[in-house]
């Protein structure tokens, strides 16, 4: 059996288990809409600032909320691995011939699928609120950026989970990285309004890459080359964190 089909089998297992948790589903649906409505009211007049580039904050916000949701989902994804580890499920898998990489890939894929569905929902709600997000091409880029963001941060999260192997440590690390990465980006506010030194630093931030790619089509003066470059960077980030996760898996196995 190929790694791909094993990945799908293990991904479906997690999705099926999650689909049985009504509260989880409710939060996954309500939370992004809550962000969208909250921020759009809170920062309604922000577009009046000179240099914002668009007159509709909702147009500006929808791609941002899609990316933020994907970023958060990905960052916390490692918790599920710790649960499997604590309950002996992982050990049971390891005594079968299943590919070790597929165990990690299945979970990364699961986080990415959930985030993409959330992004789609956000785009639909955004549409109701009047944000078109650049039509079909824009939507595809946003969904792709959300997928890559969730997968990339999920890889990082799983790597950390497999190294700390403790829920409390995992939570501490996830919290430690999430807010700084969020604020060192133009997710909530126009790039031109951020101090120049922060703008430069934000170019090292995968969240910023995702936001720039996702928002490119919605804003005036679309630069496809730049969007493509940011998507490519996100792809590299995913490759890097996936490698980190599979290596962490090997280091976990050595502790057994």
């Amino acid at each position: 059996m190929s790694i791909l089909s094993q990945t799908v089998i293990l991904c479906v297992r997690v999705l099926r288990n999650l689909s049985r948790q009504p509260i989880w589903i409710a939060v996954m649906i309500v939370q992004p809409m809550f962000w969208l409505i909250l921020y759009s009211q809170l920062f309604r007049r922000i577009t009046e600032l000179p240099g914002f580039g668009t007159t509709s904050y909702i147009d500006y916000l929808t791609p941002g909320v899609a990316i933020m949701t994907a970023f958060f989902s990905g960052s916390w994804a490692g918790m599920g691995m710790i649960e499997d580890l604590d309950r002996g499920v992982l050990e049971r898998f390891l005594a079968t011939p299943v590919s070790r990489a597929a165990i990690v890939f299945g979970r990364i894929l699961q986080a990415a699928i959930v985030a993409t569905l959330q992004a789609l929902l956000i785009l639909l709600v955004g549409l109701l609120l009047g944000a078109t997000n650049g039509g079909i091409a824009g939507w595809i880029v946003i969904l792709l950026a959300a997928f890559l963001t969730a997968a990339g941060f999920s890889g990082l999260s799983h790597g950390i989970a497999l190294r700390t192997r403790q829920e409390a440590s995992m939570i501490a690390v996830a919290q430690f990285i999430s807010l700084p990465l969020l604020f060192f980006s133009s997710l909530l506010i126009a790039r031109t309004l951020i101090p120049p030194w922060m703008q430069s630093l934000s170019l090292l931030n995968p969240v910023e890459w995702a936001v720039r790619a996702a928002r490119g089509e919605a804003l005036p003066g679309t630069d496809w080359g730049e969007m493509g470059a940011f998507l490519l960077l996100l792809g590299c980030f995913l490759a890097l964190t996936t490698t980190f996760a599979t290596r962490s898996f090997r280091s976990y196995q050595r502790t057994l």
Binding site: M1, R13, R16, N17, G88, E91, A95, L256
Partner: protein, 319 residues
């Protein structure tokens, strides 16, 4: 051919915890073999090495003819592993757990469905097959664990403490199931347990493990027969066990004396004849006797005889 060969495995955790110290044994095909020992003796570590979950620092082992280190993939296909700490997915149904396990073992869809249904039937889980495992009782969960180990029809099954944590009723039911299972399927079973009774009842042969080594191996009957006579336990009123042991050693027909707290363990040729003599001698010395019990030798006595320590006391030590 031997289904399992373990040859001088060593394993140290950290720098100081010596889990295995050259353990060595072999299990014949179709045999139920029991690794018996107190908690911390190294039984689980041995099984985890054989199931390819961890590596030994030194020594060799083969399972179903495959080296556990260099042919881990082949070993994994040949074995079923039932870990001590369950490992079922609580948020999935019993059937889903079995089907997933079959898939991960590389079975095909049609084959899995049939096999899962058969196993659910065998282990009396059919009527709860589509309920989430988190609603199962401890005994049901454990039976599902064993069924999952069997789904791909392995030749070798590892059962790590299969009845620990079960109530006596569930334990008895599990024993019956394991007995009929071993008879029905062509299976080699390696069982670890710290219940002497369990090893006695299920295993064709037993290896007693203490501090990472096999102390003695054989059929339970042969091991007990080796200890001729009966075992007498004397519980003293006071703590003067040293002097009482001295006196007991002088009595005719007493082979072996060990002490443990306020208790004296004696091996005697004939229990009925020895007890009055023991009591008289102890009484004359002024040692008060609280209770005396005479028993046929058990695996408990085998453990005591070979390690010089009380099984229950060793078992408690680590917990």
């Amino acid at each position: 051919m031997d289904a399992i060969v373990v040859d001088g495995l060593e394993k140290t955790y950290g720098r100081t915890v010596r889990a295995l110290d050259g353990i060595r044994f072999a299990v014949a095909e179709g045999e139920i073999f029991g690794l018996l020992g107190p908690n911390g003796a190294g039984k689980s570590t041995t099984v985890r090495i054989l199931a390819t979950l961890t590596r030994a620092d030194a020594g060799r082992a083969t399972v179903a003819g495959h080296d556990v280190r260099s042919e881990a993939g082949a070993v994994r296909r040949a074995i079923g592993y039932v870990p001590q700490a369950s490992g079922v997915d609580r948020e999935a149904t019993g059937r889903e757990n079995l089907v997933l396990q079959g898939r991960l073992q590389g079975m095909r869809g049609h084959d899995i469905e049939g096999r899962a249904a058969d196993l659910l039937e065998t282990f009396g889980l059919s009527d709860r097959a589509n309920a989430l495992v988190r609603t199962y009782s401890g005994g049901m969960k454990r039976r599902l664990d064993v069924a999952m180990g069997l789904v791909h029809r392995p030749g070798v099954l590892f059962l790590d403490e299969p009845t620990t944590g079960l109530d006596p009723e569930a334990r008895a039911a599990m024993w019956e199931e394991l007995e009929s299972l071993a008879a029905a399927e062509q299976l080699t079973i390696l069982l670890t347990t710290h219940y002497l009774e369990e090893a006695d009842r299920l295993a064709h042969r037993v290896a007693i493990v203490s501090r990472g080594k096999v102390v003695v191996a054989g059929t339970p009957e042969a091991l007990k027969r080796e200890l001729r006579g009966d075992s007498v336990t004397v519980e003293l009123d006071g703590a003067e066990t040293g002097r009482a042991a001295e006196i007991a050693r002088g009595i005719e027909g007493v082979h072996e004396v060990t002490t443990d707290g306020r208790r004296l363990h004696l091996r005697v040729a004939h229990g009925a004849q020895a007890v009055p003599m023991i009591l008289t001698a102890l009484d004359a010395s002024g040692a008060g006797v609280h209770a005396v019990t005479v028993a046929r030798p058990s695996l408990d006595d085998v453990y005591l005889h070979h390690t010089g320590r009380d099984f229950r006391a060793d078992d408690g030590e680590v917990r």
